[in-house]
């Protein structure tokens, strides 16, 4: 009985399918007649995406050939996965991946932590002009390029710079911020945090201003002290944003800060300071070793894409954040 009805229902569906399609076609024709302009408006975006994002993907095939610069891609010999084997049997590859992860994760953890603490401190200040002054000054470095900030850092942190002059005046040995292999990754992490904490705190401060002041007043009437208010009102008020930023930061795990490293590093600190992006640039464009650089770049592109999609999925799931 049940089988019969389902079969007959299926038959009915099959006989109706052509009709549905033609109805859809007609609907599309109506949409087109009324709203063709909407499609025309997307043409420039399609052209740009195809030329600058889709078309370059064809060049990924360099990863599978022994590239011949004189004959181009079509005249190069196909070598299968040989380039991938070459890349992933080199110890250097794991060194740059390790450096990238170390620096990027260090920046995420120290950076978010600093931004939250800073926002909480600013929130505790009740005198508005001072709040605004501190925010204005701390946000500024974010908007200056890494060239400018890097040039300033090189001046300030070099052996003859003001910080080392001070250190040497105290009778201590010079600190090799830019030359010591053990210190250099932390120069990168801390200078990035320094450049970005003021801007990073804005999103937390925006959330803090949303907290209802009456909550604080009611808590104070009930005898809650400073710490109690921080724990039971302020922190729960920004917990959602902290979770969101933690989810989104996953997308930056391979993003160790290409421009910053390129400005600040030098051959002496390659062992701990060379990251995937600088390696691709140096080996590929400066050294013209296209195959190796393409393989490493492809690895970074694929893993980076997966991480970003994952971070959006987590943000949607745990923080109700949707991009579209």
């Amino acid at each position: 009985m049940i089988d019969n009805t389902s079969i007959s229902a299926q038959r009915q569906l099959e006989s109706e399918t052509p009709q549905i399609i033609s109805r859809q076609k007609r609907a599309f024709r109506d949409v087109w007649k009324q709203h063709w302009m909407l499609y025309v408006m997307l043409i420039p975006a399609v052209i740009l995406l195809v030329l600058f994002q889709l078309y370059p993907l064809w060049g990924i095939s360099i990863a599978f050939v022994k590239y011949n610069p004189f004959r181009g891609l079509a005249g190069s010999e196909f070598v299968g996965l040989q380039n991938f084997i070459d890349v992933f049997t080199r110890p250097q590859t794991f060194e740059i991946i390790r450096n990238t992860l170390y620096i990027a994760i260090g920046k995420i953890i120290v950076g978010q932590f600093t931004a939250v603490i800073f926002a909480l401190l600013v929130h505790e200040v009740r005198f508005r002009p001072y709040q605004r002054l501190v925010q204005t000054l701390t946000t500024l470095p974010h908007f200056l390029s890494w060239i400018i900030v890097g040039a300033v850092l090189i001046t300030v942190l070099s052996g003859a710079g003001p910080i080392n002059s001070f250190v040497k005046a105290l009778g201590l040995p010079e600190i090799g911020f830019l030359r010591d292999k053990a210190i250099f990754p932390w120069t990168l992490i801390l200078s990035d945090v320094w450049k970005g904490f003021g801007f990073g705190a804005i999103i937390y401060l925006a959330a803090l201003t949303q907290i209802n002041p009456e909550l604080y007043e009611a808590a104070a009437v009930d005898g809650a002290g400073r710490w109690a208010r921080l724990r039971h009102i302020t922190l729960p008020g920004i917990a959602g944003i902290i979770v969101l930023m933690a989810c989104l930061s996953l997308g930056n795990v391979l993003n160790a800060g290409f421009e910053q490293v390129l400005v600040l590093y030098n051959p002496v600190v390659y062992a701990t300071g060379d990251i995937i992006d600088t390696y691709v640039y140096r080996v590929g464009l400066v050294g013209s070793n296209y195959e190796i650089a393409t393989v490493v770049g492809l690895f970074r592109g694929v893993v980076g894409f997966i991480l970003i999609v994952l971070s959006y999925w987590l943000a949607d799931r745990y923080a109700n954040y949707r991009i579209f």
Partner: protein, 294 residues
């Protein structure tokens, strides 16, 4: 706000003020040092005697830079890049966001386009394939390479889509009944009420164009076509200052390599400082979607 006036609380307040003050100072003192170097005399700079205030103040470094053709050329290219870049980006973002924001109109293919756009903008084939593609498109040593590839920014487009979605649909409907086309609705109805979103996008685009330098050094080999920040990078990275003619010449006795670099840094930072007060007003809007850097 209820205030506790206990001693312990006062002390906590003072500590917070001091910590914040020190953080704020740490963000500007390094820049004061660079400004001081750019304004100091030759002897003081060479002997590393300059701290936070200029020693033997003079403007020789600036006078030399402002008479240098390579600096003036790269400055002009940076200005052109910002102006053209902002106009192109705004136009493209607006015209792309409009069809994507009209959820009430059934538009087959809209979702497919959104997914295509997002995937294309989040996945990159890497530096080498991109470089070779731009080369075969004839974009090397071409001003357009600085403008077109970054023109369609996914985050700005999303900001714009969300802003357009907040506009009452009835406004557009009324205009259509009066015979207006989509172009009319976009430019006469939507844009006049979208000025805050457009200002945010314009400001952030201007900053990113002014600050970009990597595309300059990679895609442009002719130094005379470099924007200012690429030119600055060549000075910083090689630590080789091509100002020999300046050092010791009679006209600019106080110009030094360090001082000239410092002066260039200051000049490159000044435009950002000038629009900074406007930027501050749009921080929060620009930030909510820009948290992933790529």
């Amino acid at each position: 706000m209820v205030e506790d006036r206990t001693l312990a609380n006062r002390i906590v307040d003072i500590v917070i003020w001091v910590v914040l003050g020190l953080l704020a100072l740490s963000c500007i003192l390094p820049f004061f040092h660079v400004v001081a170097v750019s304004l100091s005399g030759r002897a003081a700079v060479s002997a590393k005697l300059v701290g936070l205030l200029p020693v033997n103040m003079n403007f020789d470094n600036y006078a030399y830079i402002l008479g240098n053709n390579q600096f003036l050329g790269s400055f002009g290219i940076s200005v052109a890049r910002v102006v053209v870049g902002v106009v192109v980006t705004l136009l493209l973002v607006v015209i792309t966001a409009y069809p994507l924001s009209l959820d009430r109109i059934h538009m087959p293919g809209r979702l497919a386009f959104k997914i295509f756009m997002l995937v294309m903008l989040l996945f990159s084939g890497g530096l080498i394939p991109t470089f070779l593609a731009y080369r075969s498109l004839g974009l090397l040593n071409n001003f357009l390479v600085l403008i077109l590839p970054p023109a369609l920014n996914v985050f700005y487009t999303i900001i714009m889509i969300n802003f357009f979605r907040g506009i009452p649909y009835e406004l557009a409907e009324a205009a259509w009944l009066d015979g207006a086309s989509h172009i009319d609705v976009l430019f006469r109805v939507y844009l006049p009420i979208s000025l805050p979103a457009m200002a945010t996008i314009a400001l952030f685009t201007a900053v990113s164009h002014w600050n970009s330098w990597f595309d300059g050094i990679v895609y442009i080999s002719n130094i005379d076509q470099w924007p200012l920040q690429s030119f600055l990078y060549s000075l910083v990275s090689t630590r080789r200052i091509e100002w020999q003619s300046a050092s010791g010449s009679l006209d600019f006795q106080n110009a030094t390599p360090e001082g000239l670099s410092a002066a260039l840094i200051v000049v490159a930072a000044v435009p950002i400082l000038m629009i900074y007060p406007f930027l501050q007003r749009y921080f929060v809007t620009g930030l909510t979607l820009g948290s992933v850097k790529q």
